[in-house]
């Protein structure tokens, strides 16, 4: 296709090399632990070895006596000086008292009991061992169904382990079941607990400055505007007193959103130490044990109604979410899954009874694919299991049930609006990439040899730019709704174009994509645009939603950048019209011999950016009064066009854009060792208009790696006493490049009508590999009557499943009622 001139001019959509690469690839990035302050102290946490216990006594005397130890903080001391953290949920959740150090009870292994402050990090670890804590063990609860029996209650003030419960019901479920040709019952499905293990662990440097009563943070929290709202209320300080700066961040995947309890301890420790700065660098074991894990979810008593053609007409199910010991970001996950209520499918009648409970395990936090991936995995399992039961091929089953291209924008049963998509086309592209027909033949001949090969499809959604109004579905009194993002675009005194955003990227390439957007607005080269990323309260561009999370920068962040650049362009136009004595219609933006400039088409006269800025900033006596409003320093806040959802009906638009992914995995269960081997893999992505294709592709590979790791290698395991068995990388084996198959990448673009550029938020990836690999294993084993009911599978679990099936011990987890 011949490109038109306008397309050629656009920077958006081009594979612009990443601006941040120069710094990061040369080892010149600045990460939180690179920052060192004079007289800095180091903090170490004393952590509980029990999962559930009463604290009988904490004796800090031996630690205090140690040379180099400055002080020791304990839970009761903190509780006497602070308010418990805000709880997002209503009662009983609201009754939970969450302090950053355990006050009287331990609720998960690794929970901090005390914090020591010492002159060196090694001394801090030494002193941690000198704090003597006496515990009285209590019965631990590590299973969500056990927890809901309330036989051993974690938070006595709440009197129950249940955090939240709500029924999401739409359409006419009873009628659909009455009319169904088939009803499939699936007793239990389980989505396992894992984490995305960012390369850089949590790091906090805090200083409570007594002179100006301000609290300074240099850290790698990935949603600072959320953290400061929790911190201000907890510490009882005006929010303006808290300054948070982030710099380069080595991955978060959401896990770093919930570091605010540790942030609170560091600030309080600094205050206790007379304002000396306090640094805490989390060890890998601490990170695995006690930062945050992804949500674990159990799906009970699922019933699916289908018509004669295998089209799903209704679904009922009970979902039990395990949020670990403290809700923290929860119970938001109790509604966030409903952004993708029907997944990619057309069914209109459904009832999902959703319950969340606390257990004696590490608190959960948003983790790449947060809350939606559990639900999407569930739906993909339902579709595959029904397909196998009704002997409908997996691809055909999906085509019969997918939302159709012509139905977009598609309003889901719960009022979400899917902006655009073409799932059937993605399936075609993925099948072509993987060589579907070829693999079907190979699979058939391999089966004759007794080999177990499966081909699985995972279709998933990555919903981005969420409506915080959904918090009111979990708590009608929650004061949040909508979504916004701020940006500032200015000509600095010498005319440099500088953009500041409120995001804190962790590899998403915001410096590059923001520069591309501004370059298009001003018709300049992206290299001439400086982008300041990293959160800084004092840059004053952030809104209450600023941060980097939930697949939204391409929409919310870049819309704000675009708006700010438009505002600046408008001011520059007015100023240039005055300077060049030309009409604004006569002006064009471009670059001349002295760099970026504005020209008069008729006279050829031009003024460069230095000249423009000069008039406003340092030569302002020449400026006529009618231009006095011009600052060349333009802040713009973009607001998502959301309404508050209907809290009673749990109905409304919960997310602005819906990127979609379709993965196909070909997996063989190796003879004798039962190791699942990925033989072939295709990943097709649709995130609307791609602003920077290589960045999109990189995100797809990263999300694919996380998903494959989660499906086959990574899980957080607790024993029945609540001991975490996977607190090092020897036991929790994160995926590395060596474990990655060769991924065949493809993409389609269905531009979003909901964003100015047609782009959709992306990056989380919807955990497509979990869906595709479970489906492939199901396909490999369905002839043996085995149902893949868990999102984690490895050689051991497959060996045991086959052994149980062989010995006839396997239960029949699926029943089919055929009415016709």
């Amino acid at each position: 296709m011949v490109k038109t001139e306008t397309e050629e001019k656009n920077w958006v959509g081009r594979p612009v090399p990443r601006k941040e690469e120069n710094r990061l690839l040369r080892g010149r990035g600045k990460f939180a632990d690179d920052i060192k302050l004079r007289n800095m102290l180091y903090l170490g946490f004393v952590r509980s070895s029990y999962a559930h216990a009463r604290i009988v006594a904490v004796d800090t005397s031996r630690a205090q006596a140690r040379k180099g130890v400055v002080s020791v903080l304990t839970g009761p001391e903190i509780a006497s000086e602070t308010q418990p953290f805000l709880e997002i949920g209503p009662e009983p959740c609201a009754k939970i008292k969450d302090y950053p150090l355990a006050v009287s009870k331990i609720r998960y292994q690794g929970e901090p009991v005390a914090a020591v402050l010492a002159e060196s990090p090694a001394l801090a670890v030494d002193a941690v061992e000198l704090v003597d804590v006496q515990y009285e063990p209590l019965d631990p609860v590590v299973d969500v169904e056990e927890a809901l029996k309330d036989e051993s209650v974690l938070h006595e003030e709440a009197a129950t382990n249940r955090v939240w419960r709500g029924v999401f019901e739409y359409g006419n479920v009873d009628q659909a079941f009455a009319e169904a040709a088939y009803v499939v019952d699936i007793d239990r499905l389980h989505f396992h607990r894992f984490s995305s293990t960012p390369l850089e662990t949590n790091v906090i440097l805090a200083q409570w400055d007594g002179k100006d009563e301000r609290i300074y943070y240099w850290c790698n929290n990935s949603f600072p505007s959320f953290a400061i709202q929790f911190l201000a209320a907890h510490l009882g300080v005006p929010i303006d007193r808290i300054r948070v700066e982030t710099s380069d961040i080595g991955g978060s995947f959401g896990i770093k959103i919930t570091s605010y309890p540790q942030m609170a301890v560091c600030a309080l420790a600094s205050r206790k130490a007379g304002g000396r700065a306090v640094k805490w660098v989390e060890t890998r074991s601490e990170h695995m044990l006690a930062s945050a894990h992804g949500n674990e979810r159990t799906f009970r008593r699922t019933r699916v109604a289908l018509d004669r053609q295998g089209v799903i007409t209704a679904l009922v199910s009970e979902h039990l979410d395990d949020c670990g010991a403290y809700p923290r970001y929860e119970p938001l996950g109790c509604v966030i899954w409903s952004q993708v209520f029907p997944g990619v499918y057309r069914f209109r009648n459904a009832r999902i009874d959703f319950t969340q409970a606390v257990t004696n395990k590490c608190p959960v936090g948003p983790n790449r694919g947060y809350s939606r991936m559990q639900h999407l995995w569930f739906l993909e399992r339902v579709v595959d299991i029904c397909a196998h039961q009704l002997a409908i091929p997996a691809d055909e089953m999906r085509l019969r049930n997918y939302i159709r291209r012509e139905e977009f924008p598609y309003t889901t049963p719960n009022g979400c609006v899917y902006d655009s998509g073409n799932y059937a086309k993605m399936l075609d592209v993925a099948k072509a990439l993987i060589g579907w027909e070829e693999w079907k033949k190979k699979q058939a001949s391999a089966r004759e040899e007794g080999r177990l090969i499966g081909i699985g499809i995972g279709t998933t959604l990555d919903s981005g730019t969420n409506n915080f109004g959904q918090s009111q579905i979990v708590n009608p009194a929650a004061p949040f709704s909508g979504n916004s993002q701020g940006a500032n675009c200015k000509l600095d005194i010498y005319g440099e174009v500088v953009v500041a955003v409120g995001s804190c990227p962790q590899g998403q390439g915001h410096e590059t994509t923001a520069a591309q957007v501004v370059a298009d607005v001003l018709n300049i080269h992206p290299d001439t645009v400086t982008v300041r990323t990293g959160f800084d309260t004092e840059r004053n561009v952030h809104t209450g939603f600023s941060g980097t999370y939930a697949s939204q920068f391409a929409v919310s962040g870049l819309s704000a950048v675009h708006g700010a650049a438009q505002k600046l362009k408008h001011e520059m136009t007015r100023l240039a019209a005055f300077a060049l004595q030309a009409s604004s219609d006569d002006l064009e933006f471009g670059s001349g011999s002295t760099g970026p400039e504005i020209r008069s088409r008729s006279t050829g006269a031009s003024i460069n950016y230095w000249g423009l800025s000069n008039i406003v900033n340092v030569n302002s006596a020449v400026l006529p009064p009618e231009l006095h409003d011009i600052t060349l320093n333009c802040r713009y806040v973009w607001r998502a066009p959301f309404k508050v959802p209907d809290k009673e009906k749990k109905y409304g638009s919960l997310t602005l854009t819906y990127a979609s992914q379709l993965h196909i995995a070909v997996v063989e269960i190796e003879p004798e060792t039962f190791i699942p081997r990925i033989l072939d893999y295709a990943a097709v992505d649709d995130c609307g208009t791609r602003i920077n294709p290589p960045i999109v592709e990189g995100q797809v590979y990263g999300a694919t790696a996380h998903g494959i790791g989660a499906a086959l290698m990574e899980r957080c395991v607790y024993d029945s006493l609540g001991n975490m068995l996977t607190s090092t990388f020897s036991d929790y084996t994160p995926i590395t490049a060596m474990n990655m198959p060769n991924v065949k990448y493809g993409h389609i673009e269905t531009p979003s009508p909901h964003s100015y550029s047609g782009a959709k938020g992306m990056g989380e990836g919807g955990a497509a590999p979990l869906h595709a690999i479970s489906a492939a294993l199901q396909d490999a084993l369905s002839a043996r009557g085995i149902v893949i009911a868990d999102s984690f599978n490895n050689g051991d679990s497959l060996f045991r499943a086959l052994a149980e099936q062989k010995s006839g011990q396997g239960t029949k987890p699926v029943k089919v009622e055929r009415r016709s």
């Binding site: 090694a122 060792t673 996977t726 060596m738 474990n739």
Partner: protein, 297 residues
């Protein structure tokens, strides 16, 4: 990740290290490559009060073939063995060295350190027990040589006296017509294996002589499987014999369930691995070039 405080001593020779050991006594630990000891100290699972670093001694790292003996200095790194043309002639030695953890660990870790630690999941003890290997020890009181089987006592327990250090590992070069292989199943390169199997055998025509089969990671110390050896000894190794060896291995393995796998799975894996290792060993005994690799789950 900070260790507890310790005194650091740098030995100029292995002899000096042995003297330091006897002078300091309790609480002293030898530091060689540090690939197990340092992580344990950082996790504070080990807290020796004195570390005697032998990494700066000279002459402790070598690979020499003298007659029918392969002599490996205790400080020889896994990588040096992996890349040594001399050591490569004993296939099982090369398999073991090349498959240990990752490149970083292989560059730093030493064969002597691995044997001295006697981790039931370590590689070298299992691989070398399938050969005829000895450990040469020195102390201020003198020197002695122990068969490896006598050296490894139990999990993390060796015959090393408190003033002894390993100076050399001696491996008898197998006869012509021999072949061996060492294969592990690991969940990822840097982690301990789920199960490992070492096989060494000799062929006379098609008849198997002197089979040695050793299992690692499935008991408190490497397990020599007499039953499997008996199933192979003096006969042609066909599928029936392989199955019999696999079954004997499954029975002999004595694993614990842990994060690496359930006990029953580990048993099954050991049985599967022994068949793979035997096939590779047979090929090698026949003079074929057989590439093997650990299985990564």
């Amino acid at each position: 990740m900070y260790t507890a405080a310790f005194e650091y001593h740098r030995a100029s020779s292995l002899e000096e290290a042995a003297t330091m050991l006897s002078q300091i006594g309790e609480g002293a630990k030898i530091l060689a490559g540090g690939q197990s000891l340092i992580p344990l100290m950082k996790l504070r699972l080990a807290a020796p009060s004195h570390l005697i670093d032998i990494g700066f001694t000279s002459g402790g790292s070598y690979i020499r073939e003298e007659g029918r003996l392969l002599r490996l200095g205790a400080l020889t790194s896994h990588a040096e063995i992996e890349l040594s043309p001399v050591a490569q002639r004993i296939a099982i030695v090369h398999d073991c060295a090349a498959g240990i953890a990752d490149v970083q660990v292989r560059n730093r870790g030493t064969i002597g350190g691995s044997l001295a630690e006697a981790d039931p999941s370590g590689d070298w003890a299992t691989a070398l027990l399938a050969l005829s290997a000895e450990v040469h020890l020195i102390s201020p009181a003198g020197e002695r040589t122990l068969a490896l089987d006598d050296f490894i006592k139990d999990a993390y327990t060796t015959a090393l006296r408190s003033n002894e250090v390993i100076a050399e590992i001696r491996v008898h070069v197998p006869d012509a017509g021999s072949g061996g292989a060492y294969i592990c199943l690991k969940r990822a390169a840097p982690v301990y294996a789920t199960a490992s199997v070492a096989v060494e055998l000799k062929l006379e025509g098609n008849v198997c002589r002197q089979p040695a089969i050793v299992l690692g990671c499935v008991g408190l110390r490497p397990i020599r499987v007499d039953g499997a050896e008996a199933a192979l000894r003096g006969r042609e190794i066909d599928d029936v014999a392989l199955e019999a060896a696999g079954e004997a291995v499954r029975v002999a393995a004595d694993p614990e369930s842990d994060m690496r796998g359930s006990a029953e799975y580990k048993r099954t894996v050991a049985g599967a691995l022994v068949k793979r290792a035997l096939r590779a060993a047979l090929g090698r005994a026949r003079g074929e070039i057989v590439e093997t690799s650990h299985l990564y789950a």
